[in-house]
């Protein structure tokens, strides 16, 4: 698929697949098109040409039901600062049709380490606390397609370890994960494959193995291998 914004080419002939139990790390410099790709995959935009298929069907053919399968974490935390952690989770949980919401919210608060601050406004939280809550918000309804944009932003080492465990657990349970990251140390513990984007083009798509080594090799390669 390709995506243009006026005369700017954000993505050009990008072709990828991601299946159940796979975690695809999107890497590349700023402005390479990683966030645009995740936005299109989340159905918040459409490709200018080409198509995105989910289990062989387009988003239009799926209808709104497809979005219940998505867990999306964007650049911003997407939480209401005036509401408490519990109220944020309850609101988004209801909107996304999460079953057994009370116990899910309690479990999410525990996973985020926010049980003691559950009823405090999110405005009083640190960046890391907000990020942990945002991750739980994205996972609350049990999605099986996870689209995470720089999920390690603002997390300390312990919270990063916790996120790695959560994402690895979701991957092993059959979720399909696409995430962008500049942090190879963390990314390679989750990713089963890595895709590098450069100026909107998919310049490199790996198989398995240590990501950092392969990424560096690819950077020094004259002709990109797809």
């Amino acid at each position: 698929m390709s995506r243009r914004f006026g005369r700017t080419r954000a993505l050009h002939d990008v072709s990828l697949t991601c299946g159940p139990g796979e975690a695809l790390a999107l890497v590349g410099p700023n402005g390479a098109g990683k966030s645009t790709l995740l936005t299109l995959l989340s159905t918040l935009g459409r490709p200018t040409s080409g198509a995105i298929l989910f289990d062989g069907r387009s988003a239009a053919a799926w209808g709104p039901a497809l979005r219940a399968r998505f867990g999306v974490l964007g650049h911003d935390v997407s939480l209401y600062p005036e509401l408490s952690a519990r109220e944020n989770l309850t609101f988004f949980g209801r909107l996304f049709g999460a079953p057994d919401l009370g116990s899910r919210v309690q479990h999410a608060l525990a996973s985020a380490g926010l049980e003691k601050r559950a009823d405090a406004p999110v405005a009083t939280f640190s960046r890391g606390m907000r990020q942990r809550l945002a991750i739980e918000r994205a996972l609350l309804h049990g999605p099986d397609i996870l689209l995470f944009d720089e999920p390690f932003t603002g997390l300390d080492e312990s919270a990063s370890e916790s996120l790695i465990a959560r994402l690895a657990g979701a991957r092993d349970a059959g979720a399909c994960i696409l995430f962008s990251s500049h942090d190879f140390e963390h990314a390679e513990r989750i990713a089963t494959r890595v895709a590098r984007l450069d100026a909107g083009r998919l310049s490199w798509l790996s198989g398995s193995g240590p990501l950092r080594d392969r990424y560096r090799q690819a950077e020094h390669r004259d002709s990109p291998q797809l």
């Binding site: 979005r67 997407s78 509401l83 909107l95 996304f96 049709g97």
Partner: protein, 227 residues
């Protein structure tokens, strides 16, 4: 989740936030009251205002304070990128539009409920006799104004010039609603008693505009919100 249930959930969330901050209602009401006060000092002489002026002043106050409410309500969603997450909910996307529209209408109606008796008092217009008719005109006028405003405010959420563009786009589009609102209100505030025949005609025009604007907005919302 059904579309109306999702819309109510979104609107209720906005009410909860507004009940805590009172930011929009206080700003919009203060602005509207100040606007009416300035017009009253300028137009009312020896306790008498020129005939038909009160209706125009009332709708200027509602329209300008409505723009403030619209801008602030969507700024809250934009500042923390929450509108994207609302659009990702597994419901028909017009539910997001309906939820925001409901919140805007309720906020504008609350301001209107303060503004109507205040304007009546300052311009020496009896509003009690025609209260049900005036309430209907206010609700229909506010709905038409908010229907267009909610669509534009949502659409301009990612634009850097949104604060400038919103009134530039909104006021010309809502001129028919404002004219119908002013004429219906003026007919109901007639010094010789409410002119129900004229009011009914303009109420019908308002209802027709509302139906067209809401239908068009619901139809186009998903397309205009795509990045």
């Amino acid at each position: 989740m059904k579309i109306l249930a999702a819309a109510w959930l979104i609107a209720r969330k906005d009410f909860t936030i507004e009940a805590r901050s009172r930011e929009i209602i206080a700003t919009a009401a203060f602005f509207a009251v100040a606007c009416v006060l300035v017009f009253a000092f300028s137009l009312v002489r020896e306790g008498r205002a020129p005939e038909g002026v009160a209706a125009g002043v009332l709708w200027i106050g509602i329209a300008f304070s409505g723009t403030l409410s619209l801008a602030r309500l969507f700024e809250r969603e934009r500042a923390h990128d929450t509108l994207r997450t609302l659009l990702l909910a597994p419901v028909e996307r017009p539910a997001v539009y309906l939820g925001k529209l409901l919140a805007v209408v309720m906020l504008m109606a609350a301001v209107g409920a303060v503004l109507l008796p205040f304007t009546g008092f300052l311009f020496d217009q009896g509003v009690i006799g025609a209260a049900p008719g005036l309430a209907l005109v206010m609700v229909l006028g506010i709905l038409g104004y908010a229907a267009v405003g909610t669509l534009f405010a949502a659409m301009l959420g990612r634009s850097r010039s949104r604060d400038v563009l919103l009134p530039v786009l909104l006021y010309p589009m809502t001129v028919p609603v404002l004219i119908a609102g002013v004429r219906a209100t003026a007919a109901l505030l007639d010094a010789a008693g409410p002119d129900w025949a004229t009011a009914r005609l303009w109420i019908g025009v308002l209802a027709a505009f509302d139906a067209v604007f809401v239908t068009l907005a619901l139809w186009t919302f998903e397309a205009v919100m795509e990045e």
